[in-house]
């Protein structure tokens, strides 16, 4: 894994954990609906999610949240 890929994975993990912690559920099907939800959040949580969404396709993010939720249980 290149340095960049490892960094991308960390950013993904951070964003997914932030979403799982804030909402405790799988994100909506559409990215637009998710972005709308962010208005409510503390800035660091919101920014962690936005950074992850930039670095990865939406479905990858949703999968990562699923994994984070399983771990949280």
């Amino acid at each position: 894994m290149s340095v960049d890929d490892a960094a991308k994975q960390r950013v993904l993990k951070a964003g997914a954990a932030a979403y799982a912690q804030a909402f405790g559920r799988v994100p909506p099907n559409e990215r637009e609906a998710l972005e709308h939800e962010l208005d409510e959040l503390a800035t660091e949580l919101r920014n962690a999610i936005t950074a992850a969404l930039w670095a990865h396709p939406y479905v990858t993010f949703v999968d990562a949240v699923r994994r984070a939720l399983v771990k949280a249980v």
């Binding site: 960049d4 950013v11 954990a17 559409e30 660091e44 919101r46 920014n47 930039w54």
Partner: protein, 518 residues
């Protein structure tokens, strides 16, 4: 020639929307209905001079009692930023009973808007007191606007704002955006001015902390509306209003879905960090561009912009983030921990501070930072132009502002498109309905006008996403063609169509299968 203000009062009693509409053509059409052809001719002849007309108009308006109709028309407005609030104001003055619904419970946005004379004129046309209060909270861009591209500087002075002229309101987005911005105003200050005024209107009921839910349309195509508290609770029916105005901004996926209105990206995406710096600017707009190398060897243009109202002790800035920047604090922290997120936030703020310093042209290393909302921190957001395929739904719904679509913030067109251009279209619609014109045709006319206004905003800033195409007009024309064809169903993806049109002009597309941005 003496003006018969009683005749004018009679016209306003039957066409109350003319109290917020200074169009003489509309007045003549209404006067012909109320006073007959010769009465209308006589009235219009007496009102030829604009100053005489405006004086007679305010006298007639102040003397014509608000008509208490037995069964007033009903309207629901959803989303009470400036666009929704002015829609509520227009409808209330036109005699509608208005329920105005807003998700938030207060006005806290730190965004600073650059606005044109058109905004002041628009407010004056609705209520002179609103224009005066706006001038109290807005400030002249005293120190003009500064722009730097790779070290090359340009400076433009900005004319001072004048008192509102209700006859000066531009009639289309194109015309409005031809004016240069001259004032800066903090979003929350502007919103509070309009909200406080709306609170005093007897036929407006404000519901904050609520959101609307649309029914399926009935057999006549009319949507019914109910309202639920934001945090859950019992919903209340608002019936089937004559008009529903949706002004919920760009992100309102749920309402869009229930109305069957599609929205698509019309530009690539870029990331920005937005926030404020506790440093007064003296009233200045500044932008800073620099061309930077990317990891893949290409070049990208990074934009930073600062707006500082002379009436605020802080400056609002928006700075672009290079494509390759991930904001990862490194392998030493657990990505799921708060420490990681705090370190990530620090990186974001470091980038924000250093880019903002370039536009502010000063040392801001110690200055206090805040985010787009009171109490928040500098925030990452995705900037991407969007368009809706229509601006009306069924037999009673119209949409305005960012819900219709968005453009680049560099144009400073968002708030003005919502509050001037779309509001002018709404005035026309309400007048057409008073005149007894076909409602479906009147709504269709509104929809076409509103889409054209938003397109005018979008086409002006879209070149920002394509610095490799040297001729801005080429990008602008391609944008209008690609989006118009999508709206009329002639292509399925306006962004793909736009980029195809730009390839012969120097745009290099990524290989198929490689997303340009996530």
């Amino acid at each position: 020639m003496k003006v018969d203000t009683r005749a004018l009062q009679q016209v306003y009693a039957q066409f109350p929307s003319l109290k917020v509409n200074t169009d003489k053509g509309a007045l003549e059409a209404a006067a012909t209905k109320v006073l007959g052809a010769s009465g209308a001719r006589e009235l219009m002849a007496s009102l030829q001079q604009n100053d005489v007309y405006l004086a007679a108009r305010s006298e007639a308006i102040s003397q014509s009692p608000d008509v208490q109709q037995q069964q007033p028309k009903r309207a629901v407005v959803s989303g009470l930023s400036a666009g929704g609030m002015l829609a509520a104001a227009v409808l209330a003055k036109a005699g509608y009973q208005v329920d105005a619904v807003e998700l938030r419970d207060g006005y806290t946005r730190n965004i600073q808007f650059s606005t044109r004379q058109a905004m002041i004129d628009e407010l004056a046309s609705i209520e002179p007191a609103l224009a005066e209060k706006f001038l109290d909270v807005a400030a002249h861009i005293v120190r003009g606007s500064h722009s730097t591209l790779n070290g090359e500087k340009k400076f433009t002075e900005r004319a001072a704002p004048k008192a509102g002229d209700p006859m000066g309101v531009p009639q289309s987005g194109e015309e409005m955006l031809n004016e240069a911005p001259i004032t800066l105003v903090e979003c929350k200050m502007f919103e509070r001015v309009v909200f406080d005024w709306l609170k005093q209107q007897p036929n407006v009921t404000l519901h904050t902390n609520h959101q609307i839910v649309m029914s399926q349309p009935d057999e006549l195509g009319r949507y019914s509306v109910s309202m639920t508290p934001r945090k859950g609770g019992t919903s209340v029916s608002l019936g089937t209003p004559d008009l529903v105005v949706v002004a919920e901004g760009g992100g309102s996926a749920a309402t869009r879905k229930s109305l069957g209105i599609e929205s698509m990206a019309t530009s690539p995406a870029s990331r920005m960090v937005a926030g404020t710096i506790e440093r007064p600017s003296g009233g200045r707009v500044a932008s800073h561009y620099v061309d930077q190398k990317k990891a893949d060897g290409g070049t990208e243009r990074i934009l930073a912009m600062a707006l500082g109202s002379a009436k605020a002790d802080k400056t609002w800035a928006i700075v672009e983030v290079p494509t390759d920047e991930l904001f990862d604090p490194g392998p030493n922290l657990d990505p799921t921990s708060k420490e990681y997120r705090d370190a990530q936030q620090s990186l974001i703020e470091k980038h924000f501070r250093s880019e903002a310093a370039l536009v502010i042209e000063g040392d801001i290393s110690e200055a206090k930072l805040e985010g787009p909302f009171e109490g928040s921190r500098p925030t990452l957001f995705t900037l991407q132009q969007k368009m809706s395929n229509k601006a009306t739904a069924g037999a009673n719904v119209l949409t305005l502002g960012d819900f219709v679509g968005t453009g680049h913030f560099i144009v400073g067109g968002g708030v003005a498109t919502a509050t001037v251009s779309h509001i002018e279209r709404l005035k026309d619609l309400v007048f057409d309905l008073e005149l007894g014109l076909d409602k479906a045709a009147s709504l269709a006319k509104y929809g076409q006008g509103a889409i054209a206004d938003t397109l005018a905003w979008g086409r002006r800033g879209v070149y920002e996403f394509y610095p490799e195409v040297k001729d801005r007009n080429v990008v602008s024309e391609a944008y209008v063609k690609a989006v118009t064809e999508w709206v009329s169903g002639k292509n399925k993806d306006p962004l793909a169509a736009l980029e195809k049109l730009l390839v012969p002009h120097g745009l290099s597309l990524p290989p198929i299968g490689t997303p340009k941005a996530a």
